[in-house]
C-alpha cells in the first residue's frame, strides 16, 4: 500500500489552483479508469481532456519519497492536475485495478536510472578548470568590485539625506553591471543597502522621523558590509588570479557572498558533505524579492543528531512561478543520504538530492527542545561575536528555551530560567513577515516552558539585541508563525 494521503498530495501540488482543479476532476468523474501496478510502485489512469483528447497520466513511486509524475497533457506544471487527481483518488480510496506497467513508463524508468548513474559518475570526477576563462572571469569580477566601490562612494558623497529618487534609480541601474561581472552576491548586498531608500512598499518618504533615523543606521550597517566584501573580495580574487587552482573552500564565505555558484561536485570535492543526516524543518518563510523579481523561500532546519541549525534557499522567478515548484513548508523529517553544506558560519545553507521522509515524532521534538539555549545572555554571547564580523550573518536563527513570555510595557519579551529577558521584535532585515501578532492567538500553554525558534536582530540605533519569533517548539508540535 502506497503512503499517500491528501495532505501529502497537497504538499506535492505546485499551487493551490492545481489542487482545486485536480479535486474538480474527481468530482466531475473525469477519469476513465484507475490502475495500479502489481508491485504497487505505479498508479496510472486516463482522464478526459479538453475536446476529444484523453490524457494518459501516471505517478511513479519507484522512489516513494520523490514520486515522478508523467502526463500526456500540455501543462508545464509538475505534477499537473491530472496526476494530482490520480493521487487524490488513491488517497480517497478509489478502486484501483491491477494492471501491467505500460512499456513507455518502463523505458522512462530505465532512462532515469542511466541519468542518475551518469550524474553520480560526474560528481566523483574532478572538475576541469579552463584557466584562461577563469582568469578572464576573475578580472571582470575585480573590475566589478571597482565599480561597486565607485557606487558606494557616490552614495556616501551625496549623503544619505540627499539621495533623491532619480539618484537612487541611477545607482540601481548602474549596479546592474555587477550581475554581468559575475558578482550576483555583491549585487544583492548592494541592493539591500540601496533598498533602504528605494523600497516603495515601506514608504520611505512617508515615514516618520524616528523610523527614518533607524533606516539610516541600518543602511550604514549594510554599507559597512559592502565595504568589507569589496576589501576581502579583492584579496580573494587577486589570490585566485595568481593561483587558478585555488580551492574556493579556503575563503568559501567570501566566494559565496561574491556570488560563487556552488555545484554539488564542488562541495563534495571541498569535503562539505555529510552522510546519513536527519533534518527537521523548524520554520519556513517565503517572500517576494522585487529587485530580482523572484520569490525567495527560506527554510530553517535542525540536525537531529547534533542540534546544528541549517538553512535552505529556494529562488523562483515571478514569471516561472507556475512551472517551478517550491518545496515550501515541510512537516516531516528528512532522512538524507548525502547532505551538501555550503560555506557559512551560524546557519549554513544546505542542499540534498535524495531523501526519505518520515513523520516527526514526539521524541524528535524532545530532542530538539534539548538543543535549545537555556541561558539567554550567556548563550548569545558567542553568537554576538560572530554577528560583529562585517561579513557574518547579521540575523542568525537561534533556538531559545524560555520560562515564560511576558509583556513589558506593552512589548513582548522572553524570560529565561535565570529571569533574564530578551525583547521580542517584528523588525528584521531578512524579509520575514511580522509575527508578534500571532502570539495573541496562541493558547496559554505556549507561554510557559517552551522553546522558541527566533531570528536575532541587532538594532544599531538603540544598541539593543532582540529576537523575532519564527516558531515555537512545543512538546507535541511545532507552531509555525511564518509561511
Amino acid at each position: 500500500m502506497l503512503k499517500i494521503d491528501t495532505q501529502r498530495v497537497d504538499e506535492l501540488a505546485p499551487n493551490a489552483n492545481a489542487i482545486k482543479n485536480a479535486r474538480k476532476l474527481l468530482q466531475q468523474n473525469k477519469f476513465y479508469g484507475f490502475y495500479i501496478s502489481k508491485d504497487q510502485t505505479l498508479i496510472f489512469g486516463e482522464c478526459e481532456g479538453s475536446g476529444d483528447s484523453v490524457y494518459e497520466c501516471s505517478v511513479d513511486f519507484i522512489n516513494e519519497d520523490e514520486p515522478i509524475s508523467r502526463c500526456s497533457c500540455p501543462s508545464r506544471q509538475f505534477p499537473c492536475k491530472h496526476c494530482l487527481g490520480l493521487m487524490y483518488a488513491y488517497a480517497n480510496l478509489e478502486r484501483f485495478v491491477t494492471e501491467k506497467i505500460p512499456e513507455d513508463v518502463l523505458r522512462k524508468r530505465q532512462k532515469l536510472l542511466d541519468r542518475a548513474k551518469k550524474r553520480s559518475e560526474n560528481l566523483s570526477q574532478p572538475k576541469n578548470i579552463d584557466k584562461e576563462a577563469l582568469k578572464k572571469k576573475v578580472e571582470e569580477q575585480l573590475a566589478g568590485l571597482d565599480h561597486l566601490e565607485k557606487l558606494m562612494h557616490e552614495m556616501v558623497r551625496h549623503g544619505f539625506g540627499n539621495l533623491n529618487f532619480d539618484t537612487l534609480i541611477d545607482l540601481f541601474n548602474q549596479s546592474q553591471r555587477l550581475k554581468e561581472a559575475y558578482l550576483p552576491g555583491a549585487h544583492k548586498l548592494f541592493l539591500s543597502c540601496l533598498n533602504h531608500f528605494l523600497r516603495v512598499d515601506y514608504g520611505y518618504y512617508n515615514r516618520n522621523a524616528e523610523d527614518k533615523e533607524a533606516l539610516y543606521s541600518s543602511a550604514i550597517d549594510h554599507l559597512s558590509r559592502v565595504n568589507s566584501l569589496i576589501k576581502h573580495g579583492r584579496k580573494y580574487l587577486s589570490q585566485q588570479l595568481k593561483e587558478p587552482d585555488l580551492n574556493p573552500q579556503r575563503d568559501g564565505v567570501i566566494a559565496t557572498l561574491l556570488g560563487q555558484v556552488w555545484q554539488l561536485r564542488d562541495l563534495k570535492t571541498a569535503g562539505l558533505i555529510e552522510g546519513r543526516v536527519e533534518l527537521a524543518q523548524l520554520a519556513y518563510n517565503s517572500y517576494p524579492y522585487m529587485p530580482y523579481e523572484e520569490t525567495i523561500g527560506i527554510g530553517t532546519w535542525i540536525h537531529l543528531k547534533t542540534g546544528k541549525l541549517y538553512s535552505t534557499q529556494e529562488m523562483v522567478p515571478f514569471n516561472a512561478s507556475n512551472q517551478m515548484k517550491m518545496e515550501g513548508s515541510q512537516f516531516q523529517v528528512q532522512e538524507i543520504k548525502e547532505l551538501f553544506i555550503y560555506p557559512g558560519d551560524i546557519t549554513p545553507r544546505v542542499r540534498w538530492e535524495e531523501s526519505k521522509k518520515r513523520d516527526l515524532k514526539k521524541k524528535d521534538l524532545t530532542k530538539i527542545r534539548k538543543f535549545a539555549q537555556v541561558n539567554i545572555v550567556g548563550g548569545l554571547n558567542d553568537i554576538k561575536n560572530q554577528m560583529k564580523a562585517p561579513l557574518g550573518d547579521k540575523n542568525p536563527v537561534v533556538l531559545i528555551q524560555y520560562k515564560k513570555i511576558v509583556s513589558v510595557e506593552g512589548k513582548p519579551a522572553l524570560v529565561d530560567f535565570k529571569d533574564q529577558r530578551l525583547g521580542l521584535t517584528d523588525a528584521c532585515d531578512s524579509g520575514d513577515p511580522k509575527t508578534l501578532i500571532f502570539l495573541n492567538y496562541l493558547p496559554k500553554q505556549y507561554f510557559h516552558n517552551q522553546v522558541m525558534v527566533a531570528r536575532l536582530h541587532f538594532d544599531i540605533e538603540k544598541g539593543s539585541l532582540h529576537a523575532k519569533p519564527l516558531s515555537i517548539v512545543g512538546e507535541d508540535d511545532i507552531i509555525r508563525l511564518t509561511y
Binding site: K388, I405, L439, S464
Partner: protein, 590 residues
C-alpha cells in the same frame, strides 16, 4: 567599555554620512572626540583605531573622504555589535493569549500563499479559490488572519459574507480584540456584520463594547447594537424611553425587545400607543411574531377601529390615512391565529364593497390613488395566507377579481403552500384561451411563473391534459422539463405523441429536447421508444422536418451511458430504414 562615548561618536559619523562625506573633513564636533578616545584606548585599544579613523578623515584628500568615512563607520558598527543589550526593563505583565486550547491547523505555505495573494488584490477566479480553501479548512490557520482583516476593509459584499460568516467564526474569542479594533462606530454594513459576529462569538464579553456602540454609534450602529444588547429581567424602563426615540430603527428594536415584557401594563400601553400612533408598521410585526394573546387581541381591536374610521372617512386626507392604517394592520391581523382575528377577516370581507366605494370616492382623483383593484388585492393577498380554512377559501374565491400584479405573488405562494389540486382548481381558469388583453397579460404572467419554476416542483397531472388540449406548447415543455412527477402526463403524451409532436415544429423545436430529458429521467425504456418514434416522425412522416431530425439525431448521439445502452438495444429492434438514417449521426448498430 565606554558605550556613551562610542554612541556619541557614532551619532556624529552617522550625521556626516547622512549629510554627505564632502562635509566630513575637519568636522569639529567629530574631532573633539579624538582626545577622549585616546584616553580610553589605554584600557581598550580599539578606541585608538577609532581615533585614528577620525584623524584620517581630517587629513585625507577630498577624493578619499568617502572611503575614510565608510571605514570609520565600519569600525564603530563592529564594536557596537559586541555591546548589544538584550535586556528589557519595566514591569512584567501577562501577555495576551487565546482562551481556547485549540491550536489552529498549520497549513502548508503552498496553500496559504495563494490565499494571501487573492485576499490582497484582484485575482481572477477569486471566489472559487476562496470557497475551495474554506471547504478544505485551509483558513483554519491563524497566520492568514491579518490578511483576512485587511481584506475586509475593501471586500465586495460576497467576499465580506464569506469572510464574516465562514472564515472568522471558528477563531472564536481569540479574535475579539481585532474585531473591536476593526469596528467603526459609523455603522457601515461591515461594521454591523462584525458587531453581530463579535456578539455571536462572545455574547457576554461583547456587552461592554455593545453598550459603547449604543452610546456613541451612528443611527444604524445604535439600532444594531440595541438588538444585541442584553436586557435585564427588571422592567427595562430605558427600552420604554426608546420607543419615543427619534430614529425609527431604534424604536423598532425597542419594540422587539419589549415583547419579552408584554405582561407589564406599561409595556402593553406602549404597544397600544405605538399601534395607534406613528409606529403601527414597526410594532405590529413584533406583536405578530410573538405568542402573546393579549397583544394579538389588542391588534385586532385597533384594526377594527381603523376599519370603522375608513368606513366613516370622507375627505381625501382622512381616507388616505384610514385606509393606509387599515391595510397595514390587516396584513398582519388577517394572518393571526386567534379566533377574533379570523372573525374580523370575514367581517372586513363583508364590508369589501363599501370600502371599495369609499376608497374610489375619496381618492380616485388623488395622486395617492393606487388602482381600482387595490382594496381587493390587499384583502385577498392577506386572506389567502390566513391560517383559517374558511377565510382562505373566501380569499381564493376572489382570485379572478385581483390585478395582474397581485396574481403572480399569489400564484407563487399557492404553489409552495397549497395542495396541487387547489392550485389547479384556482388558477387553471387563466389558461383557457384568453380573450381580452387583460386576460392575456394574466395568462402570460402565470406562464412565465410556470417556466421559471423549480424543475422538481410537483404539479397536478391535469395541467398537461389542459396544455395538450389547448395546444399550449410552452406550457407542455415547462411542465415536462426534466420534471419527475408526471407519470400520468407522460403516459398521456406517449399515447397521443403524434398530436403532441405536431406542436413543436411550429415555433419552439428546441423545447422538444427538454421534454425528452424529462422523459429520460422518468423511465428510460419507454422514453427511448418514444424518442425513436419522434425521430421517425420527423425523418419520414408527413410533417418531415430536417431541423428537428438533426436535433434529435445529435441528442441521441450525446446520450449518457445508461440510456445510450438502452437506446442501442431498442434501435436494433427498429426497422432498417431508421437504423440506417441514424448512421448519419454517428450511431451504428449491427
Amino acid at each position: 567599555m565606554s558605550i556613551p562615548l562610542l554612541d556619541q561618536v557614532f551619532q556624529e559619523s552617522r550625521r556626516l554620512t547622512i549629510a554627505g562625506s564632502r562635509l566630513a573633513k575637519k568636522d569639529t564636533r567629530l574631532t573633539t572626540f579624538v582626545d577622549p578616545l585616546r584616553k580610553l584606548a589605554k584600557k581598550a585599544p580599539v578606541f585608538d583605531k577609532i581615533a585614528d579613523g577620525i584623524e584620517l578623515l581630517n587629513e585625507t584628500s577630498d577624493e578619499h573622504l568617502a572611503q575614510a568615512l565608510i571605514e570609520l563607520n565600519s569600525l564603530i558598527v563592529a564594536v557596537l555589535y559586541t555591546q548589544g543589550d538584550p535586556g528589557v526593563s519595566g514591569e512584567e505583565q501577562e501577555h495576551r493569549y487565546s482562551e481556547s486550547d485549540l491550536v489552529y491547523s498549520q497549513a502548508p505555505a503552498k496553500s496559504l500563499l495563494p490565499l494571501k495573494e487573492v485576499l490582497g488584490g484582484s485575482v481572477s477566479g477569486k471566489m472559487g479559490l476562496l470557497n475551495d480553501a474554506v471547504e478544505r479548512g485551509v483558513f483554519l490557520d491563524f497566520r492568514i488572519l491579518p490578511d483576512v482583516f485587511s481584506a475586509l476593509t475593501y471586500a465586495s459584499p460576497v467576499l465580506m459574507k464569506l469572510l464574516v460568516e465562514q472564515v472568522l467564526p471558528p477563531f472564536g474569542k481569540a479574535i475579539t480584540v481585532e474585531l473591536e479594533e476593526l469596528i467603526s462606530m459609523k455603522g457601515s454594513a461591515l461594521d454591523i456584520k462584525l458587531l453581530k459576529l463579535l456578539h455571536q462569538i462572545d455574547p457576554d464579553g461583547s456587552q461592554e463594547f455593545i453598550e459603547a456602540a449604543v452610546e456613541h454609534g451612528s443611527k444604524k450602529m445604535k439600532a444594531a447594537a440595541l438588538a444585541l444588547r442584553r436586557v435585564s429581567d427588571d422592567l427595562p424602563s430605558e427600552l420604554l424611553e426608546q420607543t419615543q426615540a427619534k430614529t425609527k430603527n431604534v424604536r423598532s428594536v425597542a419594540y422587539e425587545k419589549l415583547i419579552d415584557f408584554a405582561d407589564s401594563e406599561a409595556v402593553f400601553q406602549a404597544f397600544k400607543s405605538g399601534l395607534e400612533g406613528k409606529d403601527l408598521g414597526i410594532s405590529i410585526d413584533k406583536i405578530f411574531s410573538s405568542d402573546n394573546q393579549d397583544l394579538h387581541q389588542l391588534a385586532v381591536e385597533v384594526t377594527q377601529g381603523f376599519m370603522e374610521s375608513a368606513l366613516e372617512s370622507e375627505g381625501e386626507k382622512e381616507a388616505k390615512k384610514a385606509f393606509d392604517k387599515l391595510l397595514i394592520a390587516f396584513s398582519w391581523v388577517g394572518k393571526m391565529k386567534i379566533k377574533s382575528a379570523q372573525d374580523f377577516a370575514l367581517i372586513i370581507l363583508k364590508e369589501k364593497a363599501k370600502l371599495e366605494k369609499i376608497y374610489d370616492k375619496c381618492l380616485s382623483k388623488s395622486k395617492h390613488y393606487k388602482s381600482k383593484t387595490y382594496i381587493v388585492d390587499q384583502l385577498v393577498t392577506t386572506l389567502v395566507k390566513s391560517p383559517g380554512k374558511k377565510t382562505q377559501k373566501a380569499g381564493l374565491d376572489l382570485i379572478p377579481q385581483i390585478s395582474k400584479e397581485c396574481l403572480k405573488e399569489l400564484f407563487e405562494f399557492s404553489k409552495s403552500e397549497l395542495s396541487v389540486k387547489v392550485v389547479f382548481d384556482q388558477f387553471s381558469g387563466f389558461f383557457h384561451k384568453p380573450a381580452g388583453r387583460l386576460e392575456k397579460e394574466k395568462y402570460e404572467i402565470l406562464l412565465n411563473a410556470f417556466v421559471e419554476s423549480d424543475r422538481l416542483h410537483k404539479w397536478d397531472s391535469r395541467w398537461t391534459e389542459l396544455a395538450l388540449k389547448h395546444e399550449d406548447v410552452i406550457l407542455v415543455a415547462a411542465l415536462l422539463k426534466k420534471g419527475k412527477s408526471f407519470d400520468s402526463s407522460v403516459e398521456l403524451i406517449q399515447s397521443n405523441y403524434k398530436s403532441f409532436l405536431k406542436l413543436f415544429p411550429v415555433s419552439h423545436p428546441h423545447l422538444l429536447l427538454h421534454v425528452f430529458l424529462g422523459f429520460l429521467e422518468k423511465d428510460s425504456g419507454e422514453s427511448i421508444l418514444f424518442i425513436i418514434e419522434a425521430f421517425n416522425h420527423f425523418a419520414f412522416g408527413k410533417n418531415k422536418n430536417l431541423d428537428m431530425e438533426i436535433d434529435i439525431g445529435n441528442f441521441c448521439y450525446d446520450l449518457p451511458d445508461e440510456p445510450r445502452a438502452e437506446f442501442k438495444k431498442q434501435l436494433q429492434a427498429a426497422n432498417k430504414k431508421i437504423r440506417s438514417r441514424f448512421t448519419n449521426y454517428g450511431i451504428y448498430v449491427s
